[in-house]
Amino acid sequence: MTGTYLGMPAFPAFPAAAREAVRDEALRANLRHATHTIRDKRARAVAELADWDRLRAAGKAVKDHTLRHLDRYLLQLEAAVTAAGGTVHWAADADEANRIVTELVRATGEREVVKVKSMATQEIGLNEALEAAGIAAYETDLAELIVQLGHDRPSHILVPAIHRNRAEIRDIFRAEMAGWGRPAPEPLGDDPRELAEAARLHLREKFLRAKVAVSGANFMVAETGTMVVLESEGNGRMCLTLPETLISVVGIEKVVPTFRDLEIFLQTLPRSSTAERMNPYTTMWTGLGPSRGADGDGPTAFHLVLLDNGRTDTLADETGRQALRCIRCSACLNVCPVYERAGGHAYGSVYPGPIGAILSPQLRGTGSAIDASLPYASTLCGACYEVCPVAIDIPEVLVHLRERIAQGGPVTRAGVRVTLRPADGHTAERAAMRAARLLLDHPGALRAGERLLARARRLAPRRLPGAGRAWTDSRELPTVAAQSFRDWWARERSDPR
């Protein structure tokens, strides 16, 4: 078994990658515009629900309860999916998941698949594995298409091509579409409407002929075996409806106990994510259903691949396991001052931003430079925790991971409990210092970071962990901000910079 693969091998540590990114003015302008727009809209959508805090507490509790009994719920899910005509496969790691999917596609005799945006398949590098087996995988989400045609990597959970502006997208379509199928219409302007139309035409021929689709899922209901996919464009519906064979690759943490539990997440996920009351399309299916497959409504074969790939290791960490509550709404990215400046690529995994900073090093371990530096890629300002619809205390996990890296301690890798040795000499310090310097070079981020000290003190009263310690090596302790983060944010935002 090989190590956990998160889709982006051999990337420089966060500080180096981030320094590159902050020099890119166009990227920063795109990011600033996008994150601020979503952030403001989201606040309005959330304010509309008087019981938001209660929904958030309930969502947290459902996820914690599920994780506490994960074995039981996965078995229940397997039984329900099987009873409804589906087939369940278990994959301990990326290689195994890729092998299972490749075999399933091969068995259909097809050489191409359509894909609806799925972070799990990006995480395991499925497209590359399929390509190596001679199978072409077409991403069908507009943003994913832009990323795929641009030979690029996603930089945001929800809007993976957030780092591209319309002119860049037009150029990518013009140059690349012909190589993958229907060429871009001529002439092609850079109006979003025209670009979306080009994508529609390009992809439609693929949807109509596709025999095999690969998807992820937002939720899986143990009680009924129901799979749930939320999306906006209809590419998800195309993939989930038209092909004969549907293969869903889903992380084991996506299970929820009952159909009723969806009432929480269907209220919190769209509002946190796209700031809408509800996303345009939600598709729910249960195996092949009572009549599906028989009357041509939906696939005639359904396979569910349950993916571990470091999730059980994350579950073994008492503090870190809360990262598995994540419903991938991306709200934490949009409020993060570090993400806004550094961009998603700097995080070196398919999970960028604050959630990436705690998820990737847990799924993959902290053996690489990038993973050892990720827990330092934050100011600990706490904004991510405040917006998270399942109340993941990301700063708490960051501090915990920093302590692990600096001081060592018990961790679980591939199911085995081992003791991590303290990072030798200067590795952790260096990672921390570089992250600190990034922040010091960018006063906006630094000011946000001042809360680091208050927060870190509270969480680790003996001494400042990680980045905090490194800061105190070389400079005075900044005074703790008198102003609350929210006040600072409101003022800072109205400042034309």
Binding site: H33, A143, V159, R166, L203, E233, G234, G289, L315, G415
Partner: protein
């Protein structure tokens, strides 16, 4: 050892120190605000319109005339008709009626101009229409491939207030499609564009009874 056993074993070892999970607090609201049936329908209409669905209101007797107008406005020459759609809804002598057949291929559906369906239920607070493949709704694909979808909602009896209210009324074994406005993307500089892959135009007809 199979991967299933390996994963389950890892989960059990990972949790051997874990304390029992707390009770799930369900004190969130079953509905946000109190509404009369008429207010509920108004809210549904307002929220659908915000998603840029085109909302129309009519009475049962005037439905065929309204549908005729909507189809004509689109220049529709053919219209998909799912089994179980009340035949009198559609205007006599309108566009060619194409029945939803299991054997029809996606290519055939792609050549149809419009589709008319009913729905299972609608949710006012979120502006959502739910289809479950019941009579008058047809298969999932017919509301997906044609570029124009006219969805008829009987008001007020098919409208509920909230997401917590609608779930117990749905059968998870059926194929469920929740539609909140037409297909849309915001992937290009966050500009909202309708109709990437699903229907570009969604006409929602709220039909009252007198």
């Amino acid at each position: 050892m199979s991967s299933k056993d390996r994963i389950l074993g890892r989960i059990r070892r990972a949790l051997d120190d874990a304390v029992p999970a707390a009770e799930i607090p369900r004190d969130y609201l079953p509905v946000h605000g109190a509404r009369t049936p008429a207010e509920r329908v108004d809210l549904l209409a307002a929220h659908l319109a915000e998603y840029r669905a085109l909302v129309h209101r009519t009475q049962e007797e005037a439905l065929p005339a309204l549908l005729a107008r909507l189809l004509e406005a689109r220049g529709a020459r053919s219209v998909l008709v799912p089994p179980g759609l009340p035949p009198h809804w559609l205007p006599a002598g309108g566009p060619t009626r194409v029945p939803d057949r299991a054997a029809s291929t996606p290519y055939e559906l792609d050549r149809v101009d419009s589709v008319v369906t009913g729905c299972a239920l609608a949710v006012a607070e979120t502006g959502t229409i739910v289809l479950d493949g019941g009579p008058g709704q047809g298969r999932r694909r017919i509301t997906l491939i044609p570029d124009h979808h006219i969805c008829v909602v009987r008001v007020p009896d098919q409208v509920v207030d909230s997401v917590p209210q609608v779930l117990p009324l749905l059968d998870p074994a059926r194929p469920l499609t929740w539609i909140s406005g037409p297909s849309a993307t915001s992937d290009i500089e966050l500009d909202r564009v309708e109709g990437v892959h699903g229907p570009r135009t969604l006409d929602v007809v709220l039909v009252g009874t007198q």
